[in-house]
């Protein structure tokens, strides 16, 4: 069987912060790879360094030691082929929905006219047809986050980084968007690194779940999720789903990460 091509390779990654009271070790000894077109979730409690890891992957923070490669090229600064979605939508209120989606196109001068129809297609894919002339503040939180996802896809990135994108939404909206994200991903098959502190969300979305424990942030376990797609929401009640969730929880409990 052929190995899937590696999209992301992280080896021996270590990140220290200098603070007035000394050096803080945020991430230590992180090793993982993500295959081309693979959806990987990193799950861990607050403060385990998930967001630091994501910022390093996005080229926003330098590493202290180790190496991060995207499609075999080192990430040592911002790259143009990465799409990022943050916990808050981070939209620009003075831009319309369409103009927000086209922001990466404007920044990277990829040609507005060429990408306009692509933007409209993507907006249709996330169910926002007819909203392109609206402003972000006219939309609900869930709709704003869908605009943010559309924006992260517009420049056809090699890798999508999502930092708890649904963390600020209510549970119902969140479930809906999980289903929708899966649908979008099945249509585009981007390589995704999805960070969350919800075990159920990680298992529902990912091909593989990496478990991160804090102080210092380390990836201490890795579990494949062999549940066939498309996964309906009901899959969360299935025994194999429950079994994976249980194993992840047990892992955290044994490490004192979270209370069971």
């Amino acid at each position: 069987m052929a190995q899937p091509a590696e999209a992301i390779a992280v080896r021996g990654l270590r990140k220290e912060y200098g603070t007035p009271r000394g050096t803080v070790l945020a991430l230590d000894d992180i090793d993982f790879t993500v295959g081309e077109g693979e959806f990987v979730a990193i799950v861990g409690p607050s403060g385990c360094g998930k967001s630091t890891l994501l910022k390093i992957l996005a080229g926003l923070l330098p590493t202290t030691r180790g190496e991060v490669r995207l499609r075999n090229a080192p990430i040592d600064g911002p790259r143009r082929d990465i799409g990022v979605v943050f916990q808050s939508p981070v939209l620009f209120p003075w831009r319309t929905v369409l103009d927000n989606v086209l922001l990466p196109i404007d920044v990277q001068r990829l040609g507005r006219e060429k990408n306009r129809s692509r933007a409209l297609d993507l907006l249709a894919l996330v169910g926002l047809s007819g909203f392109e002339r609206r402003y972000p503040w006219e939309l609900s939180g869930g709709m704003q986050q869908r605009v943010a996802i559309t924006r992260s896809l517009i420049h056809n990135p090699a890798m999508l980084l999502m930092d708890e994108p649904f963390g600020a939404l209510d549970a119902m909206t969140r479930e809906g968007l999980n289903v929708e994200l899966q649908r979008i991903w099945l249509a585009h098959r981007e390589t995704v690194v999805f960070i969350t502190h919800s075990i159920a969300e990680a298992v529902f979305l990912a091909d593989r779940v990496l478990i991160m424990t804090p102080r210092p942030g380390r990836i201490t376990e890795e579990l494949p999720v062999p549940i066939p797609r498309p996964r309906p929401l009901d899959v969360m009640g299935a025994p194999e789903f429950g079994e994976i969730v249980r194993r992840i929880r047990a892992h955290f409990r044994s490490r004192g990460g979270i209370e069971g």
């Binding site: 910022k55 996005a58 911002p78 990022v84 620009f92 209120p93 920044v107 420049h155």
Partner: protein, 262 residues
């Protein structure tokens, strides 16, 4: 609707009370003129065209001073916001200059720049400078960290971040600063006219004061109030157009608190 009517009635009633009290108490016109006398003075000046002539002078001084002061403040503010080093070197001068009452510079400005338009424009610009400087710096530094991260992750240049993010984010602050700067410019122009001028509403006030034409003085004050109101309305209108996306209308409260300072 009923409120508007009540407002008008209150205005008429207070003017009538003023008129009645001055007549009943026989207050001399050079202390407090009657509203009818002020009205007559307004009418005479309007017909003769004297107000329009001076209004034009003061208006030009105010607007030019506003433009000059705002432009310099925006450029210096951008420089300071962009680099901590610039801030470090300029900061002592700015603090000293800011603590000084700028109207106290007016006599010096008139000596340096003469009795004509230039000294009034410089004086207006000096006073207009600070509110916009402070707001420009605060505004440019107010850009949301996540939005900056987003721009960086897209490999945006610093110039793009400035143009697409920092400047729009600063606009609520800048518009508030401009509103204050406009009111301050008028103050600067009038003060410089007091010190020495050949024309303008401030000069007109002073000359009428010397000739004890207090009703005429009130008439000019009324025109000045009207002028300030119009200038402010123009900026409020501009702000609503520019900041249509800013639901917080933070600008309004900023402007109000700063204006109270003078």
């Amino acid at each position: 609707m009923r409120n508007a009517l009540l407002r008008a009635l209150l205005l008429v009633a207070s003017l009538a009370a003023w008129e009645g009290a001055v007549r009943a108490l026989r207050v001399p016109a050079f202390i407090l003129p009657r509203p009818t006398e002020i009205g007559a003075a307004l009418y005479r000046g309007a017909v003769s065209g004297i107000y329009l002539q001076h209004l034009w002078v003061t208006g030009a001084e105010t607007l030019l001073g506003f433009a000059l002061g705002s432009l310099v403040a925006f450029v210096v503010g951008t420089g300071i916001a962009a680099s901590r080093r610039t801030e470090y070197f300029l900061y002592p001068y700015i603090v000293m200059f800011q603590s000084m009452p700028k109207v106290a510079l007016a006599p010096l400005v008139v000596v340096w720049f003469g009795l004509g338009l230039t000294s009034k424009v410089v004086s207006a610009a000096l006073i207009a400078f600070f509110p916009l400087l402070v707001n420009t710096i605060a505004g440019l530094r107010s850009a949301d960290e996540d939005r900056i991260d987003l721009m960086r992750s897209l490999d945006a240049t610093e110039l793009q971040i400035f143009r697409m993010l920092r400047l729009p984010s600063a606009l609520p602050f800048i518009m508030a600063g401009l509103e204050v700067a406009m009111v301050f410019s008028l103050v600067g122009a009038i003060v410089a006219e007091f010190v020495g001028a050949e024309a303008g509403l401030g000069m007109l006030i002073q000359s009428r004061n010397f000739s004890m034409d207090v009703a005429g003085e009130f008439a000019v004050l009324f025109i000045l109030a009207l002028m300030g109101l119009l200038l402010n309305m123009a900026l409020v209108f501009a702000r609503r157009r520019v900041l249509f996306w800013d639901p917080s209308q933070k600008a309004e409260s900023n402007a109000a608190s700063l204006k109270g300072g003078l």
